[in-house]
Amino acid sequence: MDQLVTTLFNGLSLSSIYLLVALGLSITFGQMGVINMAHGEFVMLGAYTTFCTQELFANFLPEQVGSIYYFAAIVLAFFVTFALGCLLEKLLISKLYGRKIDSLLATWGVSLILQQAVRTIFGAQGVNVNAPSFLKGGLAVKGVTFSYNRIFIIILVAFCLVMVWLLVNRSRYGSRMRATMQNRPMAQCMGINTKKIDCITFGIGSGLAGIAGCSVALLGSVDSTVGQNYIVYSFMTVVLGGAGNLFGTVIGAAIIGFSSIFVENYQSASIARAIVLLIIIIFLQFKPSGLFTVRSRVLDEGV
C-alpha cells in the first residue's frame, strides 16, 4: 500500500514537472508552430536566474527574508525569459515563420550559444541552488514521505495551468491570439497587430519555461546542459497530447510521467526510457496528430 502511494505520488510529481516544461512549448510549438530547440535553454536560464536571486538575497538582504527569495526568483525568472523570448522572436524567429526546418536549425544554434555563454559566465561545473527553508525535507504520513518540493511544484503547475487557460480562453488577448494563430489574414483585417501578438505569445511561452527552470533547480543540478535533459520529453508531451491543445498536453504529460515511474519500478532506468518511447511510437501510429486535435484553418492548410 505504502509502495503504491509512493509510486502514485512519484508519478504525479514527474508528470507535473514534464507538464511545467511542456506548458510553454504547448504555446510556442502547439499554438504558433515554431519548433523552438532553445526552449530547454530558457528552462536553464530560469534555473540560473533562481541561483542569481538566491545569491543576491544572501548577500544584500538580512537573513530573515532569505527564504522568500524563491518567490522573487519565480517572478524574475518569468520576466527574464519572457524578455529574452520576445527578443529572440523579434530578431530571429519572426524572419522564419513558415520555414520550420530553418527555424529548427536557427534555434538549435541559439541553444548552443546560450549554453556556451552560461558556461563562460558561471563555469561548466554547475551551481548550487538550495531549496528555501520552508521547502526542505518532507511530510511523513504513515511511513510515506511526501517531499515539500514536489508538493510545491504540483501546486505551481496547477496555478500556471489555470493562468494559461484563463489567458488563452477567457481574456481579450487570448481571443486575439487564437484569432491570429487560426487565421492570420482575417485577424489582420480585423485590426489585430499580429506581429505584436506573435512576439508576446512567444515571450509567454518562454516565460513559462523560466518558471519551469525555477522548479527543476530544486530537484537537480543547475548546469548549462540542464535544459537538454527535458527538451525531448517536453516535445514528446506536446506531440502526444496533440499540438495546440492544453488539455492534451496535460494528458500527454500524465501518460509519460506515470508510465516512466511504473516501468522504472520493475525495470532499469534505461529500459524504462525505451519502453516509454515505444509506447509513444505505437500511440502515434494510431493517432498521428496526437490525442486531441484542434481543427483550424491553419492546420487544414498544412502550413
Binding site: 561545473q125 548550487n128 538550495n130 525535507g137 530537484l219 516512466s260 532499469s268 526510457r273
Partner: protein
C-alpha cells in the same frame, strides 16, 4: 563588381592559407630547439567535461611552470601546445594524432574519461608515443604507451569495500551511471562482497541524463541496504543527493560511499547534502604532508583562492614530474628510452599525497589509499589510510575472489 570582390576574397584566402602552411611548417620543425622542448596537453576545454578537465590541465601547467623556474628538464625549458578534445572521443583521437605527427611533441599529458583514453590508445600505440593519464579508472588495461597516474581499482574501490566490511556494513546497494566505469566497478564490488559472505541487495544504473531519482530511491527504500556504493558521474549526483534530502534521509539513514565525488564536485552538489558521507581517493586537499601545503598554496596563488585541489589534479601534477624524472634517468627525450627508464621501476616522486613509485610492469603508480569523510566546510578529511603505498594491480590478479569470479574487461 561582385565577381571582382569574390576574386579578391579568394586571393586573400589563398594567401592566408599559404602563410598558415608556412607558419605551421615552422612550428612542426620546432619540437624544441637548443633551449626548449615541446610537450602536448590534450584535455576538453569545451563541452560537458570542460570544468573537470580544466582543473587537471591547470595542474599540469603549474608543474611545467615550476620545473621551468627550477631550470627545466635536461637543461631545456618546457613549452606546451594545448589542444581541445571537446569532450568528444573522436576529437581526442584526431587531436592526439595532430600533436604527435604534426607538432612532433615529445610526450602528451591528457584525457579524463575512459572513453577518451580508449579512443587515443591506438593512436599512441601506432605512433609509439607516450600518454600520461591522470584519473582513477576501472582498470583492466596496461598499455606500453600509457602511464596511469590515477588509482587502479585495487587502490580505490577494493580498499573502500574492505573498509566498509570492516566497519560491519552487511547489505550493499550498488548504484551508478550507465557506462563502462560503473559497470566494471560494480562487477568488481559484487565479486568482493559475495566472497566476504555478504549481500548485494540491489544494482541500479541511471541514465547519464537522468534527473528524476524517485523510482531508484523507492527501490533503495524497498531493499533496505546498510550502505550505498555510488558510482554516479556528473550531474546525476546532484539530483540524487537533493532528492534523498527531500525525503529527510541523511548519512544516518543511508550511508553512501562515492567513487566520483572529489572536492570540485562537493562544491557543486552542496556540502550540506553530503556531510558525513564517505569517499575513497588517494589524495585530498587536506592531506597532511609538507609537499601538499606547498602544492595547495601554489595552486591557489596561480588560479585563485576559491579553487580547490582534488585527486585528479594532483595526479596530473605528479605526471609531469614523473615524466621529468624518467627523461632524466634516460638522459634523452626519445620515447623508447623514456619507456625503458619507466620500466626500470626506479622512477619515483615525493608527491603531495606521499611517495609514489612508477611500476615498471604495468605503468601504474604505487600510491597510498585514503578513505575520506566529507564535512560541512566542503572539504574531505581522511579517516583511514593505508600504512604504506599500495602496489597497483589493474587486472586484480593478486585477489583470489577476483580471479575466481573471472572479472573481464567490458569492451
Amino acid at each position: 563588381m561582385k565577381k571582382g570582390l569574390i576574386k579578391k576574397i579568394a586571393v586573400a584566402a589563398a594567401a592566408l592559407c599559404f602563410t598558415m602552411t608556412i607558419s605551421s611548417c615552422g612550428k612542426a620543425a620546432g619540437t624544441g630547439d637548443e633551449e626548449s622542448v615541446t610537450v602536448g596537453l590534450l584535455h576538453s576545454l569545451t563541452g560537458s567535461m570542460a570544468i573537470s578537465e580544466k582543473a587537471v590541465s591547470d595542474a599540469e601547467k603549474l608543474a611545467i611552470e615550476e620545473i621551468n623556474t627550477a631550470g627545466g628538464v635536461l637543461g631545456k625549458q618546457i613549452k606546451f601546445i594545448e589542444e581541445d578534445g571537446a569532450s568528444d572521443p573522436s576529437t581526442f583521437a584526431t587531436k592526439a594524432e595532430k600533436l604527435i605527427d604534426q607538432d612532433k611533441v615529445v610526450t602528451v599529458f591528457g584525457c579524463w574519461t575512459s572513453s577518451s583514453r580508449k579512443a587515443v590508445k591506438p593512436v599512441f600505440e601506432d605512433y609509439n608515443a607516450l600518454l600520461w593519464y591522470p584519473v582513477q579508472y576501472e582498470g583492466m588495461e596496461a598499455s606500453e604507451n600509457i602511464v596511469y597516474a590515477g588509482a587502479a581499482p585495487n587502490q580505490q574501490i577494493v580498499p573502500a569495500v574492505e573498509y566498509l566490511i570492516e566497519q560491519g556494513y552487511k547489505k550493499f546497494f550498488l548504484m551508478g551511471s550507465d557506462y563502462v566505469f560503473p559497470r566494471t566497478a560494480n562487477m568488481i564490488i559484487e565479486a568482493q562482497v559475495k566472497a566476504a559472505g555478504l549481500e548485494v541487495v540491489g544494482v541500479e544504473y541511471a541514465d547519464m541524463e537522468q534527473t528524476d531519482f524517485a523510482a531508484i530511491i523507492s527501490k533503495i527504500e524497498a531493499a533496505q541496504p546498510d550502505v550505498i556504493l555510488n558510482t554516479l558521474n556528473g550531474s546525476g549526483n546532484v539530483s540524487f543527493f537533493k532528492q534523498m534530502s527531500e525525503k529527510n534521509y541523511t548519512s544516518e539513514d543511508y550511508m553512501t560511499m562515492s567513487f566520483s565525488i572529489a572536492e570540485e564536485e562537493v562544491t557543486a552538489i552542496g556540502p550540506a547534502l553530503l556531510t558525513n558521507h564517505l569517499v575513497s581517493w588517494n589524495y585530498y586537499q587536506t592531506t597532511d604532508t609538507a609537499k601538499n601545503k606547498d602544492f595547495v598554496a601554489a595552486y591557489k596563488a596561480k588560479f585563485g583562492e576559491n579553487r580547490v585541489t582534488s585527486d585528479p589534479a594532483e595526479a596530473a601534477y605528479i605526471n609531469v614530474y614523473l615524466w621529468k624524472a624518467a627523461v632524466e634517468k634516460a638522459g634523452s627525450f626519445d620515447v623508447d628510452k623514456v619507456i625503458e627508464a619507466i620500466e626500470s621501476g626506479e622512477i619515483s616522486f615525493d608527491a603531495p599525497e606521499g611517495m609514489v613509485t612508477l611500476n615498471g610492469d604495468n605503468h601504474h603508480l604505487a600510491k597510498p589509499v585514503r578513505i575520506g569523510e566529507i564535512r560541512a566546510d566542503g572539504l574531505i578529511y581522511e579517516i583511514k589510510s593505508t600504512p604504506a603505498p599500495v602496489e597497483p594491480d589493474p587486472y586484480l590478479t593478486t585477489y583470489d575472489w577476483a580471479v575466481a569470479a573471472g572479472i573481464q574487461p567490458l569492451e
